[in-house]
Structure formats: C-alpha cells, structure tokens
C-alpha cells in the first residue's frame, strides 16, 4: 500500500521581527529549517513513497537566497519525490518566490526530485494520482479546486488512489490567521469547496493553511505546521507534527501524527494578587520550562493587583525569563498599588503633614471609585492615574527619606 507524508505551512524564512534580539530571532528562523530535517527523518523512518507539501513552504516571496538554498538542500537529501503546491504566502504567480530565477536554479540543482506543481492538472505518480490546486495569487476569489469538479473521471486511471493537494480555507471551517490584519480575513479568498470534489472520487484531501491539526471531512485533513510559529489559542491546538498515511483506491486512510517540533511555545494566564500567586507562577514555570535555556517562548496574560514590593519581585522574575527564554510577551495588566504597609508608611507621618494628607486623600478617592460597580473608561483611567500617583508618591518619599 502506498504511503505518503502530508505536511504544510513550513513558512521558511519567517522573519520573526517581533523578536528584538537578533540572535534569538536567528534561532527561531533556524529552527524552521531544522524542522525540515526532522521531517526528512520521519520520511526515512516511515519509508514514505512521497512527501506532499500543501502550500506555504516559504513564508514570502522575499526569502533570502541563502535560506532557500539551505532548505532545498534538506529537501534534496530526502531522496524521494517531494510534491509541492504554492500557497498564499508563496504563490506561484509572477512576483512570487517560485518565479525567482535563483530559486528555480537552486531547485534544479539541489532538489531534482522535488516537483513544483504550478498547473491545475492531474499528476500521475507510480503509486497515486495527485490533483494539485496551486495558488497563483496571494488572494484569489476563485476556488482553486474548481477545476477538479470539471474533470472527466473516466479518463483517469481506475485503480490508482487519488489525492487532492490544496491550500486555503474550506467551507464551514475558516482558519484565522491572527498574524494578519483582521480586514483580510473577512474576504472570501482562497476558499475551497470540499463538497464539489468528494463524492467518492478522491481518497484523500491534503490541506494546508490552518496551522493546527484538524480533520474537516472524512478524508480531508489539515496537518498543521511542523514547527509552531505562534502561541497556541488553547489546549485544542495541536501543532508541530506531520501526518503519515497509507492509501488505496476506495479506502478511507487514517493518518498518523508524528511530532516534529523543536521549540516550546507556552501560553499562560495567571491572576496575581498575593505572594502565594507569585509562588505558584514560579512553580508552574519551573515545571514547564525548568532550567532549559533558549528553546522556549512564553506568552503570559496577567491580571490582578500587587503591592509595590510584590510587583518588584514579579518584575525581577520576568527580567530573568527574558534572558532565559527566546521571547516573553506580557499581555494584560496587573495593577501596582502600595500595599497596606506601604500605604501606612505614607499616611502615618505625623511630621510630614502634607504627604500624609495627600496620600490619604488619594487613597480615599481610589476607594470611592472602586465602590462603583462598573467603571467607565474615564473612571478606569482615573483610577489608574491615582494608583500611579500613589506609587510615585511612595517612590518620592522613600527616595527622599533615604537621602535624608
């Protein structure tokens, strides 16, 4: 029974410019190429007949030549057919990466077994018939798989398993590319109508574009990206794998997921109110990351409120993480407000009449605001302002006292 490896969305050359440290950025970029090596290893291990890449092999048309060279070298090393269709990131039209002369030259030299499928026409392999749906534009309002419904199935080999290779959203399930502008998502582009091509005529639909593993029909699968490139959107997200499946004409293949990820993307949400919350956070991080350096990325969504001292501790913790991890992104806000003792240090000053009276006044105002159940945006920023004023007063008092 023929065996294939289904993968997509390698997005080689993704710039990761949100990582400011160039060294760390390079490591992230490098990991994507390394993941291709891991795919080669999986192909070898499972002895697949061919590797199917369902679009977005490259991240854009402007991938540096050196990177192109490197990844084609790895593909060439697979030593088996690698069938690639262009996706929306690496569309096959003019101005796309595949039209670049250096890419075409490298392709011939380094990966002679790789087949770039730019035309919507059946491709007969020894073991199967591949029906590619390449994207020739970044955004196309036409269904790239429309040609398949026009096919005269009688003309095709009878007993050869049929595999559709396509890239894009499908009816009934739309991927959300949260790196893109939200405006681009509402357009109905690169949309594949699965109903038009099934009906028992095809045996497997290998899809790309959605970065998580997802079955969208009895024979249609998104394989997800082999190397995660963003923080997950929940526990359901399965990233960092490829699918390996055996296929015969008329059977329903059951693909097997094989992990290929090299980096760990953590997405945590914590509420910080007390010292014990901070303790708990530290424990969680210890469990998930431990002492590992340079292989993790963390997104931390925070809320709550900490005293100045506690906040200082939190700050220090994040500072350490920033050094240790490839990237730390903090979302949300944790309020910073003088704690009870810190507040007393300001209000309980018989000598410094002005300071104590002002601290009391601010605190009173803040408490009054917080009595209100739902704060308006203005009230919220007012509260934030008062909070900050209290922190500032505390800082000035401490500094001046220390100087004295």
């Amino acid at each position: 029974m023929p065996r294939f490896l289904h993968t997509a969305d390698w997005q080689i050359g993704k710039p990761f410019r949100n990582i400011t440290d160039p060294h760390k950025r390079f490591r992230l970029q490098q990991q994507r190429i390394l993941s291709v090596s891991r795919i080669a290893a999986v192909a070898e291990e499972h002895n697949v007949d061919a590797v199917l890449v369902a679009g977005d092999l490259f991240d854009s048309s402007t991938v540096p030549s050196a990177v192109v060279m490197e990844v084609l070298e790895v593909i060439g090393s697979m030593n088996r057919p690698v069938l690639v269709i262009p996706g929306n990131h690496d569309h096959g039209g003019a101005g796309g990466v595949w039209q670049r002369q250096d890419v075409q030259r490298q392709l011939k030299e380094r990966a002679p077994l790789m087949q770039l499928l730019l035309k919507p026409e059946p491709v007969l392999l020894d073991q199967a018939l591949v029906l590619p749906c390449p994207l020739l534009r970044q955004r196309d309002s036409e269904d790239p798989s429309a040609w398949i419904s026009q096919l005269d199935w009688q003309d095709l080999a009878e007993d050869c398993p049929r595999i559709v290779l396509a890239h894009g959203a499908v009816h009934g399930f739309e991927s959300t590319d949260y790196n893109q502008d939200s405006a681009g998502q509402s357009e109905r582009i690169n949309r594949i109508d699965l109903d038009m091509i099934q009906h028992g005529q095809v045996d497997y639909i290998a899809l790309g574009d959605w970065h998580n593993l997802k079955q969208v029909g009895d024979r249609a699968w998104y394989c997800g990206t082999p190397e995660p490139d963003r923080f997950d959107q929940g526990d359901q997200d399965q990233r960092g794998q490829v699918l390996v499946f055996d296929i015969d004409r008329g059977t329903c293949p059951i693909p097997k997921s094989v992990s290929t990820a090299g980096l760990h993307w953590h997405n945590l949400r914590v509420q910080l109110r007390t010292t014990s919350d901070l303790d708990r956070l530290e424990r969680t991080l210890q469990q998930r990351i431990g002492s590992r350096v340079g292989r993790d990325l963390l997104r931390l969504e925070i809320n709550g409120q900490l005293s100045l001292r506690e906040y200082q501790r939190f700050d220090a913790l994040i500072e350490v993480l920033r050094t240790q991890l490839l990237h730390v992104r903090i979302k949300g806000t944790c309020h910073r407000r003088p704690g009870q003792e810190e507040l007393l240090a300001m209000t309980d000053r018989s000598e410094d009449h002005l300071i104590s009276s002002i601290a009391l006044q601010l605190q009173g105002e803040l408490e009054n605001l917080e009595l209100t159940k739902s704060l308006t945006t203005e009230q919220q920023s007012e509260a934030e302002l008062i909070e900050l004023a209290l922190c500032e007063l505390h800082r000035l008092c401490s500094e001046s006292s220390l100087n004295n």
């Binding site: 048309s61 003019a94 101005g95 534009r137 970044q138 008092c397 001046s400």
Partner: protein, 918 residues
C-alpha cells in the same frame, strides 16, 4: 545682624568718611549732594558685591576728586561675633578681608566672600556678571533706597524679600509645623519633575515624554512607510503577473494566428501568378487579330470616303458656275451707278463755287459799311477833343487871374484878425468910465469940461479938474499894461490891413469868397482835363487818330476796287446787287449781315450734299472692287475642283484593283470578328477568376501582415522590457523584505505607543500629585499671611481709623506673598491705588514687619534703612512713622534714617550724624 561702624575711602565726594551707628535709631542728615546716597550705595555694594567685581557698578563708586580705588570698611555684629569687613574695589585685583572675634586669622578672597554670604543670609556674594540682575534684590526688604519708597516690594518677586527665610521664620512661630522639610522636598522634587516634562505651552522639548512621543511618531511614520512598501511590492507583483499573462497570450495566440494568415496569403499569391501568366498569353494572341481587323476597316472606310468626296466635288462645281454668272451681272450694275453719281457731284461743285464768289462780295460789302461807320465816329471824337481843349485853356486863364491863397494863409489872416479883436476887447475892459452925475463946479477932464449927466470913457491916464482947486490924475488899469496893449493892437491891425491889401480884398469875408471861387475853378479845370485824357486814351492820342482815319480811307478804296472788278462774275440775281450787277452799297450793315448768314447756310447745305455723294461714290468703288475679286476667286476654285475630280477618279480605280470589291472585304471582316469574340471571352473569364485578388492586393495584405508582425514583435519587446524593469523592481522591493519590515515596524510602533502611554500616565500622575501638593500648600498660606499682616497692622495701627480696618495680603507657595493692600470700611484697596504717602507708610510697615519676622535668623536684629523714604508723608502722619520706628527699635531692630530734613527724626534719634555740606 547689627551695623556698628562704617569707613569709606575714595568714594565719590568722600575722601574719608567714618560713621558709628547707634544700636537703635541712627539719623544721618545732610543737605542735597552731601553724599547720603553714595554712603548707602557704598555700604550695599560693600556687603553684597564681590571685591573682584568690575563694571559700571564699581565705576560708579569711584571718586572724580580723589585718586585711589574705592575702599569700604564695615564692622558689624552677627552670629554672636563682631566682624570687620574691608573691601577694596580695584577690578580683578580687588581685595576683601573679613575678620571676626574668635577667628584665628582673617579670611580673604573667595573664602571671605563665602563666609560673608553666610553671615548675611544670602546664597552668594554676586560677581559682575549677575550684578545688574541680582544686586538690586539684595536686602530690598530691609533697605529702602532713595526713590523706591513708592514701589510695591511684593510685586517684585520672592527673591526681593527672602521668601524662604520668611516662611521658615513664620513656620517656626506657628503652633504646629506647617510643612515638614520632607513635604517641602517632595513638593520641590515633584515641581522639578513636572517642570522637566511640561512647559506652559505643552510637553517640554527633550523631556522623556517628548522623546517617547517622538519615538512613537517616528515608529508610526516607519510603519506607514513599511505599509506603503508592502503595498508597492504587492502591486508591482500583481502588475508583473498581469504582464506575464499578456506576454503569454501574445506569444501563444496572436503570433501563430499571424503565421497562419501568412501561409494562406502566400498560397493565394502563387495561384494568382499562374492565372496571370495564362491571361498574358491570350492577350498576346488577340493583338494581331485586332490589328488585321483595324486594317480592313480602314480600307473600307477610305473607299467610302473617296466616293463621297467625288460626289461632293461634282456638286461644288455646278454651284460655282452659277455663282459666277450672278456676279458678273451685279458688277456691270455697279459701274453704271458710279457714272451717274459722278455726274451729280460735278453739278454740285459748280453750284458751290458760285455761292462762294457771292459770299466773298457780301463780306467785302460788310467790311466797307463798317469802315464808313468807323470813319464817322473818329471824326466826332476829334471834334469833341478840340472843344475840351479850348474849355481847358479858358479855365486856366481864369484861374491864373485869381491870387493863389492857400488855406494856411487864410488861417493866418483869421488869427491876425482875432488878435486885433482880442486886443480891442481888452483895451475896452480896462477903460474907465467917467460919469458926471452932478456938479456944482466945473469938471474938466483932460482939459475938456464935462457937463452934468455927461459920460466919458477913457482908456488912458487922464486928469480931472474940479473947479480950480481939485485936480485928479486917474490911471485906468493901474496905468501899466494898457499902453502895451494898445501897441499890440495897432501892430496887429497894421499886419491885418497889409495882408488884405496884398490880397486885393477889402475884408476877410471877401478873401474867403475868392478862395472858394478859385477852388471851384480848379475843380472844373481838373474835370475838363480828365475828359480830355479820356478821349486821348480811347484813340492812341491825336496822332494815331488821324493815322487810323487814313488807313480806313485806304482800305475803303481798296475794297471798292475789288468789288467793281468782281461784280461782273456774279450771275446771281439778288436784292443786294444793283441791276448793273454792282453791289448795292446803300444797304445798311444789319441787312447785309442777315443776308450773309443766309448765304452761308445755303453754302453749307450744298457742301454737305457733296460730301454724301462723295461717300456714296467711294462705297460704289469698293463694291466694284470686291465683286471683281470674288469673281476671280470663283474662277480659280472651279479650276481646282476640276483637277481634284480627275485625281479621285484615278484613286478609286486603284483601290478596286488592290483590294477587290467591297463585299469581299466585308466578309473577311466578319470572320475576323468571330475569332476575336471567342478569345475575348476566354480573357474575361480569367479576369473574373482573378477578381479582386490581384497580386497587388495580396502583396499589400502581406505588407500589412509584415507590419502587424513587426508591431507585435515591438510590443513583445516593449513588454519584455517592462517585465525586466518590473522584475528588477520586484526584486529591489523584495530585497527590503517588506513583510518582515512591516512586522518589525508594527512591533516597534506598538512598543513605542505603550512606552508613550506609560510615560504620559506617569507625567499625569506627577501632575496630579503636584496639584494636590499645591492645593494643600495653598490652604496653608493663610497661616503665613496672618502673622505678617498682623505685624503690619500693629505698625500701622494709628493710621487705621476703624476697628475692622486692616492690612491684607495673600500667599501662594510658588509666587510667594501677593496682593498687598488695605481693607478700609469693608473695601479692599490695592497698593497701587493708595496715595503716595500711604504707599510709603505701608511700605515702611511691611519692611519693619518682615525684618521683625526675619530677625530670628539673624541674632534677633536686622538693620532697616530708610533713605529719604517718607518725602510724601505729611507732617501729621510723620508722627505715625516716628512711632513705627520707635516701636521697631523697641523690638530690637536697628533703624538708620537718611534725610535732608532731619528735624522730625531728631527727637527720636539715638544718634545724629550731620554730613558736611558740599
């Protein structure tokens, strides 16, 4: 701090000046220009200006009278010690020395100045650079310099009255601490923080917030640029894609279509070429046939033509001979007419010459008659001339007989007569009339007795005797001029009578008549002469008149001669001529003229007739000539025609011999026509087959195709050029990694936005805190103003009439004390609205109060100085001023008053110093 002694050297008008101050009130009195203000200024600069200072402030101290640098020595009590300060202002080399009790060695230079500043409670002793700005504010709250008493001290700013020191002293006095040092410190720091971030107009340049804003703006711009670049890259890619598509379409569709068309055209061209060759062949066969046909047709045609010509010639000949006969007849007719006409002309000629002769004679008769008339007229003129000459001579004789008296002479005679008369009248007026009305004695005048009632008129002196005893000698006209007058009278009279005599007249009137008569004669003479001249002008004078008469005579005789000789020739009977044929000379001129006119008329008529007949004769001659010519021509043409006729006959014979008879030729022609039609059909069939697809059309279609292919090629080249450019652009834009750049720009922008927001929040929080501090401090301000205004009120008490009247002022932690004024009868009166005197007093009280408050920091004493500070204060109020000063001294302050009018202060002065008058 208390001043003890002052020593000045070389300061303006002071060579040396030594003063000792009283601990209480010192009065320094001196007239104007005695150096009071110099003293004050010297002390002030000595205390607050560095010894090394230079510039106008130091120069102003310098004396014009004495050489040497200004030297100021002061001794004072401060911080529990007695200090002696000595400063010599000599520019950069200026020296200072400060020695105090308990000091081991006197200080000098900057150390001395620093200690001095500390003793005086100021930040520093000022150098030349700040002097102009800072010096006036030093001790402005203690020393009222001349002319400044009316200015509001508080308006000049906190630095003029040591606000910080004042607040410190006032706080020390307060029951509870108003503001701790930490409060103050935090407040100051906040102020600095806010000021570092904001200016009155917005965010301060180069502040942290400003930098964040700039950073954010830059990031925003960068983001926009990145977006633009991304869009540009994408649009270029799309353009490239479209171009590729077009190129593909052109090479895959358009190019083969053109190729196919070319093949079709070339096939057509070959076929057409073959057809055209066949056509050419047929046309070549047609040509000789057509030539033969033409030949036969021409023979036939020539035959016909000659036959026709022969017939025509025959007819012409007949016509010619008929015409000839007619012409001959008409010629003889014409000749006859010529003869008749010639005869008529000769008759008329004869008639005319007769008329001519008669006319000549009549003209002579006319002339003769005219001559006779002229002769008669000349005779009459001659007679008239003779008569006029005679008359003229008579008149001349008469005229010569009269004396030649001009008008001027007459005038002189008149003048002479007038003078005679005038003399007589004057003599008359001078005459005395002697009237004897009554006399009882004999009266004798000039020896002639006068009777009663007798009158005597006398013009010369005379003697009157009355009786015997009385004798008058009377001189009329005073007896002088009368004699002379008489002489004049006689002389004029003589002249007059002589003139009359000369003129042979008896009186003036007669003379005038004579002159008039002479004038009339003269006029008559002129008239006659003019007439005479007129006669002569008309006839070239007398001599020519006779000559003319003679000429006329001759001519008359000549004419009569001619007439008699010619009269025989005239055969015409006429009334003009007498029976013997001679001219009737008795006829008058008019009749002759009428007759002459009639003859002329008849003559003209005959001449006209002759002219007409001559013309007719000429015409007839011409006609005769013409007819003659025509006749000759006709004869000639008849001869020519006869010759032609013979020639044609021969030609016809030869044709027949050559080509046979006409029907034979016609048959041949018919056969030839049939073969021609057959060939023609073949040619037209071929031509139709070729139709419009001529070789030319195909060629032009091919040329068009070439052009199209060329255009296509050019277009392809253009497109491929554009493709190259677009690819290059794509690569160029791509090399900038637009997506990556956009991602980075977005991250940077978000980061910058976040940082800006944080910084802005922090700045607002600081502002908020500062506001709270300022509010709290403002609430404290009353605690500062109350003690000060109470102190002022205590000084001013006598002036405040009402119980509720008081001084008021406000306090702002930043700007210090403000709004100084008085509250009177429930109304606030600002300082600027007070009277001059009141301003001085309130100023005095304010300074004393401030010194009172401040003295705690200066060993419970401060010197207050008033330099002519109450010049506007009236004598009543000066009492209050004195009381204020006394009170101040009581409270431990040292008061120094400088005045040109020391009297009011002498009573309270502890020490009075009189400065010598200038």
């Amino acid at each position: 701090m208390r001043l003890l002694h002052c020593h000045l050297e070389n300061i303006r008008r002071h060579r040396f000046l030594d003063l000792d101050f009283s601990p209480g009130l010192t009065l320094i009195s001196g007239a104007n220009e005695s150096g009071k203000s110099s003293l004050v200024e010297a002390m002030h600069r000595g205390l607050f200006l560095k010894a090394t200072a230079s510039g106008s402030l130091v120069e102003a101290l310098r004396s014009n009278l004495f050489p040497g640098h200004p030297l100021i020595e002061l001794s004072f009590e401060a911080k529990g010690a007695i200090w002696s300060l000595s400063k010599r202002f000599s520019g950069q080399s200026g020296s200072v020395r400060l020695d105090g009790t308990g000091q081991e060695v006197p200080l000098s230079g900057s150390a001395a100045e620093e200690l001095l500043a500390k003793l005086l409670g100021v930040d520093e002793i000022v150098g030349s650079r700040q002097a102009a700005r800072v010096l006036p504010s030093r001790w402005a709250h203690l020393w009222v310099l001349q002319g400044l008493a009316g200015q509001n001290l508080l308006d000049q700013g906190p630095q003029h009255y040591d606000l910080n020191g004042l607040m410190q002293q006032l706080e020390q006095r307060a029951e509870v601490s108003l503001q701790s040092s930490l409060d103050q410190k935090v407040s100051t720091e906040l102020e600095a923080l806010v000021e570092a971030t904001f200016t009155s107009r917005g965010v301060r340049r180069n502040s942290l917030l400003w930098q964040c804003q700039q950073q954010r703006e830059r990031a925003e711009d960068a983001l926009k640029t990145a977006e633009l670049q991304r869009d540009s890259f994408e649009s270029t890619s799309a353009e490239l894609d479209q171009l590729e598509h077009e190129l593909d379409l052109l090479t895959s569709d358009r190019k083969p279509a053109l190729k196919k068309r070319r093949f079709e055209l070339q096939t057509q061209q070959e076929q057409t070429r073959q057809d055209e060759a066949a056509l050419l062949l047929y046309r070549q066969q047609l040509e000789p046939l057509q030539l033969r046909k033409k030949q036969l047709q021409s023979v036939l045609h020539a035959n016909n033509q000659i036959h026709n010509e022969f017939l025509l010639c025959q007819k012409n000949l007949e016509d010619g001979s008929e015409q000839q006969t007619l012409l001959k007849h008409s010629l003889s007719e014409t000749k006859k007419q010529i003869e008749t006409t010639q005869q008529k002309l000769n008759d008329l000629d004869q008639q005319r010459s007769d008329w001519e002769l008669r006319g000549l004679q009549m003209r002579r008769l006319e002339e003769l008659t005219q001559l006779k008339l002229q002769r008669e007229s000349l005779q009459r003129q001659h007679n008239e001339q003779q008569r006029l000459r005679k008359q003229s001579q008579t008149l001349q004789i008469q005229l010569d007989a009269l004396p030649d008296l001009g008008v001027a002479k007459l005038q002189r005679l008149r003048d002479c007569y007038d003078q005679v008369k005038a003399c007589a009248i004057r003599i008359e007026t001078m005459a005395s009339e002697f009237n004897l009305e009554r006399a009882d004695q004999p009266v004798i005048v000039d020896g002639f007795p006068l009777k009663e009632g007798q009158k005597k008129r006398l013009t010369s002196s005379f003697t009157v005797n009355v009786g015997d005893g009385v004798c008058f000698h009377i001189n009329p006209g005073q007896g002088t001029g009368i004699e002379e007058l008489k002489r004049d009278h006689e002389r004029n009279l003589l002249k007059y009578t002589e003139t009359l005599k000369a003129w042979q007249v008896k009186s003036l009137e007669e003379a005038e008549q004579k002159i008039n008569h002479r004038n009339q004669l003269s006029q008559q003479l002129n008239l006659v002469n003019e007439q005479l001249n007129g006669c002569q002008d008309g006839h070239d004078g007398n001599i020519s008149l006779s000559l003319q008469r003679k000429q006329l005579q001759n001519r008359q005789e000549e004419l009569e001669q001619e007439m008699t000789s010619e009269s025989e020739l005239s055969k015409l009977d006429d009334s003009l001529f007498s029976n013997d044929g001679s001219l009737n000379q008795l006829l008058d001129l008019d009749t002759i003229r009428v007759e002459l006119k009639r003859y002329r008329q008849s003559y003209r008529t005959i001449s006209e007739s002759i002219k007409v007949i001559k013309l007719r004769l000429q015409q007839l001659h011409r006609e005769e000539y013409e007819q003659d010519k025509n006749l000759q021509k006709l004869t000639l043409s008849i001869e020519v025609l006869s010759a032609k006729q013979i020639e044609r006959k021969q030609h016809m014979k030869s044709l027949l011999a050559e080509h046979g008879p006409e029907p034979e030729i016609e048959e041949k022609l018919l056969k030839l026509n049939q073969s021609l039609t057959h060939l023609g059909q073949k040619v037209s069939d071929l031509e139709q087959q070729l139709g419009k697809q001529t070789l030319q059309a195909i060629k032009s279609a091919l040329a068009e195709l070439d052009a199209q292919e060329k255009r296509l090629q050019e277009h392809l080249q253009l497109l491929s050029g554009q493709r190259g450019a677009l690819r290059e652009r794509c690569e160029g834009l791509g090399s900038l990694e637009p997506y990556a750049a956009l991602e980075e720009a977005r991250v940077n922008f978000n980061q910058a936005k976040l940082e800006e927001r944080e910084q802005l929040m922090l700045a607002h929080a600081q502002q908020r805190l500062l506001k709270s501090f300022q509010q709290a401090q403002a609430e404290l301000s009353n605690r500062y103003t109350t003690p000060l205004s109470q102190a002022i009120c205590s000084y001013l008490e006598p002036l405040l009439g009402n119980e509720n009247d008081r001084c008021h002022l406000s306090f702002d932690p930043h700007d210090g004390f403000r709004e100084l004024g008085l509250r009177r009868d429930g109304q606030n009166v600002q300082f600027r609205d007070l009277s001059g005197g009141m301003k001085e007093q309130l100023n005095g009280a304010l300074r004393l109060s401030i010194a009172d408050a401040l003295k705690g920091g200066h060993g419970d004493c401060l010197p207050i100085l008033f330099d002519d500070a109450f010049t506007n204060t009236d004598p009543d109020r000066i009492e209050t001023v004195l009381r204020m000063m006394t009170q101040a001294v009581k409270r431990g302050l040292q008061v120094i008053v400088l005045s040109c009018d020391p009297t009011p202060y002498e009573t309270i002065a502890d020490k009075t110093i009189y400065l010598p008058s200038p």
